[in-house]
Amino acid sequence: MRRTTGLWLIVGFFGYCLLPWYMVGDGFLSFSWLSEFGAGDTAPAAFLATAQGRPWLAPAGLSLLATIPIVLANGASTRRAWALIAIAGTGLVMTMLQGFMIQHFPDFPFIAPFLSGAAQMQPGFGAGAAVTLIALLFMITTGVAYLGKGRADAFVVGLIGLIVALVGVFVFFPLSQVLVRAFELPDGSYALTEFVPRFFSSDIWSLKCLVGSGSCGPAVNSVLLATMTGTGTTLLGLAFALVFTRTFFPAKRLLRVLTVIPIITPPFVIGLALILLFGRSGAVTELVADLFGAEKTRWIYGFWGIYLAQMLSFTPIAFLVLIGVVEGVSPSMEEASQTLNADRWQTFRDVSLPLMRPGLANSFLLGFIESLADFGNPLVLGGNYNVLSTEIYFAIVGAVADPAKAAILAIALLSLTLGAFAIQRRWVGGKSYTTVTGKADSGQHADLSPAVKAACYGTALPWAVFTAIVYGMIIFGSFVKLWGYDNSFTLDHYIRAFSVDFTNGIRWTGVAWDSYFTTLSISTIAAPLTALVGLSTAYLLVRQNFAGKNAFEFGTMLSFAIPGTVIGVSYIMAFNVPPIELTGTGIILIIVFVFRNMPVGVRGGIAAMSQIDRSLDEASITLGANSFTTVRRVIAPLLGPAMLAALTYSFVRAITSVSAVIFLVSAQHNMATSFIVGRVENGEFGLAIAYSTVLIITMLSAILLLQLAIGRRRLRRRDRLQSPAPVRSRLPSLLPAGRTK
């Protein structure tokens, strides 16, 4: 008990007495606060609470002082553990309370007496506050561990506490702010009664387009689009999956590439390419106009444009999901059907297809959620077709900023995605007919009947060709001067974006460099953090048992179902004011990436960790290693591929993300995607496309580099082991060693 709590006590005092408690105006890392140490708002809390008369900062310090006798006492007892929890808990709660109360309720009786004479505002929490609060948090968790909870493991309980606190502050707290805002009236007061009529107003839910008189509300538009996209991507994905798994199609590797491409494509790029093809001066439009004299229209800007873009964007995801589903159908079932005299079509219709039903539903819901959350394509192609995600954006940045409307729209969007998410988890997730068992199934999948095969080839192959053309347009378009008007070859776009001047040393003169470097550095910082948080969460979920584990899992997976626009809105609403004031910083971008992409790390980690026998960690622990050492020496080395996947994915997602960051970027910290969106809005398509191409290439190289870096480490290990005995494989299986025999 002494070692752990003593360490956190020192950390706590360090944060309380030496670091600036509040945010420092020109950034903590400028260290300007050191030169005027202890003066003004940059002073540590110890100075603020005593010399500067801000007694509401005292509880944190007092509780640190009060824990000293407990920390120094020998041996752990239940009573001391409780005392530690109570004291540190009081300090933590009081400190959080003063932060929120001084901001929101300066007249509240609890805090008002302390405020006499002092300014009733204070800056947001800074480094000192963060360090102190984290130290207090870990004192609490250590106390809980000494009560024998969480297998009495201070590391595990601390990790649970940390992740709960992080998810609470950076997922639930912002969402709650959206809810609060939705009840706010224009005059700043709050009313419950106003919410219902505003939420269900015909502005949002109008069905007029269905009866042919005007346009529908954005919520209805979103649902219509999502339903169409979910259905379309599932059907196309199924065709691809059948071609991939049930035919002898020769270019399967190329099809596989299709599944990777959308991951590294910024979300609006497809929209841009479609404009180049079908816009008013698009290649296809021109061609059709020349050949048939058809009128050039702007049909691409609207429902059909968004639909086409979303089909292109999300079909690969359905493909990926459905490969697993189609392969999961046990061949013996199909063979059984055939021995019962069913022909290939009957087998497909009556056996294979029904077995795939849950998988198809799953794929539909995924497409549905993706379409609802999609922001880039509607933004580029939306025209007059309003969907929720873009309406939220315009309610924040439009001519008439209306945060309350944005909040209500966000709640509408959130309830739709959460509803679909809930259905997916409750109804589809649990139900599965896939018949993959431990037993080897040596049967052969039935051939497709000629009609089905023709249908699959007939849809999948043209679509694949179309996708290839669309991506070709992106590269091609970046070298064309002014699409549709001056089709001459040029490098101008690249030069404008990425020119470098070498005359006086290196000067990055291109307009894109700023956002490019910001994007790279923020993604590089965010990726390992995301992987760390995601895999830690997975470790807790797979390896530890604790009270409230289900709620914990739900909370950590929740951000998966929250559309980026909602996250963006919630972050500017929550983190624009003290005590946690982060807007305009680079930190908020890092945080938004970490918590948006964390669920993927969690899923990957869960899958990988379930493959590692639990008794490996238990063996390590009974050998005297603590949980942290176990994670470092046993679990992490065995998690190599999962870590690579989590790292790659979070890096790439951070680069391509647009929906959340577009709310959070600032002049100082502009991201590539929001920069490109800005160019598109200005009509500078060439520049936008050139930049997108560079981004795609950047991500491809990053993926390859990561593969190389982590791949090589494993090779080196093998070189060292030149054993004469036949090496079956380096890690024959992560199952219990005895079973490999």
Partner: protein
């Protein structure tokens, strides 16, 4: 090595372990002497592995106290308990060599590297794997992997060594030699060993003391001999060896002798203390002597089934009261199915158990 100093005693005081609504261990109290090999024996789901994991600190007691070597470890995590464990699956780290596996515990305990090397080599030598240090676990046979797991556990010189079904992944021939090795190592190091198994023969073969568990509690504690000769319940009688457990009437109890009626025959059985009025009679199948039918016999029956196994013949005999399972290992006669036989029971080898 100095044996008795290192060995730790184990004491449970009213330990309870719940998983939600399920009780895995209920109100368990026990006191185990240091330096002994103790087996936790019982059918699957009886709580024996949970008990082992409670000693290791891999599970925390829901209530009660646990002492290892006289020290209260109830709220101490596994890392800080002086207890090592050999897992059923061996749990060798697949990314480390045999030597790295064995030295892992010393390394994380910050033992100097020269000492680490020496002690790991000693431990490997003790299990007969000197020279295998550079191999990966995947390059060893199942028996060798098992011995690496033992070496990895004993290198830390724990107060208590825990073995969770260590032989279950080995083939039958290997089991006997490995269990002898384990017994030899335990005797040599003089440490306390707690051994979980569901195989009663294995338990009888290695243990100083057997704890038979059933339904999350202790059914009986005793030496292998006690358990066989003095079972306290029909469950123990049936679980340890084979037994016919039959109804009987107690006609008289005096001077430590109970007189019981089994059918028309009566037998006199030595007993200790009080016996419950509702008792059943335990007849071990190998204590029943079969002979050709004679009028004067006390019990007679007809052979319903006979199985010739080479070193013994197993019979099922229909008697007027019940069917009896009989093992005849004298091999001096063979009674075909349908023949009438006489059965002789040896008073001194009968015992009574609670209903």
């Amino acid at each position: 090595m100095n044996a008795s100093e290192k060995a730790g005693s184990i004491r449970f005081e009213n330990v309870i372990k719940n998983y939600g609504q399920v009780t895995a261990v209920k109100d368990l109290s026990l006191d185990l002497e240091p330096g002994k090999l103790i087996t936790l024996l019982g059918p699957s789901g009886c709580g024996k592995t949970t008990t082992l994991r409670l000693i290791a600190g891999l599970e925390m007691a829901s209530a009660g106290s646990i002492f290892v070597g006289g020290k209260d470890v109830t709220n101490l995590t596994a890392t800080y308990r002086n207890v090592s464990m050999v897992f059923q699956s061996y749990a060798l780290f697949p990314h480390m060599s045999v030597f790295e596996n064995v030295s892992y515990g010393l390394k994380v305990s910050a033992v100097p590297s020269a000492e680490t090397r020496e002690r790991a080599q000693d431990a490997l030598a003790m299990v007969g794997l000197a020279g295998f240090g550079e191999r990966l676990p995947s390059e060893l046979s199942g028996g060798q992997q098992q011995r690496v797991a033992v070496a990895r556990a004993i290198v830390l010189e724990p107060e208590v060594l825990l073995l969770d079904e260590p032989l279950s992944n080995l083939d039958a021939k290997l089991r006997r030699s490995v269990r002898e090795d384990i017994r030899a190592i335990q005797q040599k190091l003089g440490i306390t060993v707690v051994y979980v198994t569901h195989d009663q023969e294995e338990a009888m073969a290695v243990s100083d003391q057997i704890i038979v568990m059933r339904n999350a509690g202790i059914e009986q504690i005793g030496s292998p001999r006690d358990l066989y000769l003095q079972p306290v319940s029909a469950f123990i009688a049936d679980f340890i060896g084979d037994a016919n457990v039959v109804d009987c009437d107690i006609s008289d109890v005096k001077d430590g002798i109970a007189e019981i009626q089994f059918g028309s025959a009566s037998y006199r059985i030595a007993i200790e203390g009080e016996i419950p009025t509702q008792s059943r009679l335990v007849i071990r199948p190998e204590t029943i002597r079969l002979s050709s039918y004679s009028e004067s016999c006390r019990i007679s029956g007809e052979v319903g089934y006979a199985a010739y196994l080479g070193n013994q013949v197993q019979y099922t005999i229909h008697t007027e009261l019940t069917d009896l399972f009989v093992i005849d290992n004298r091999m001096d006669g063979y009674f075909p199915i349908g023949s009438r036989v006489s059965l002789d029971l040896d008073d001194s080898r009968l015992c009574l158990v609670e209903v």
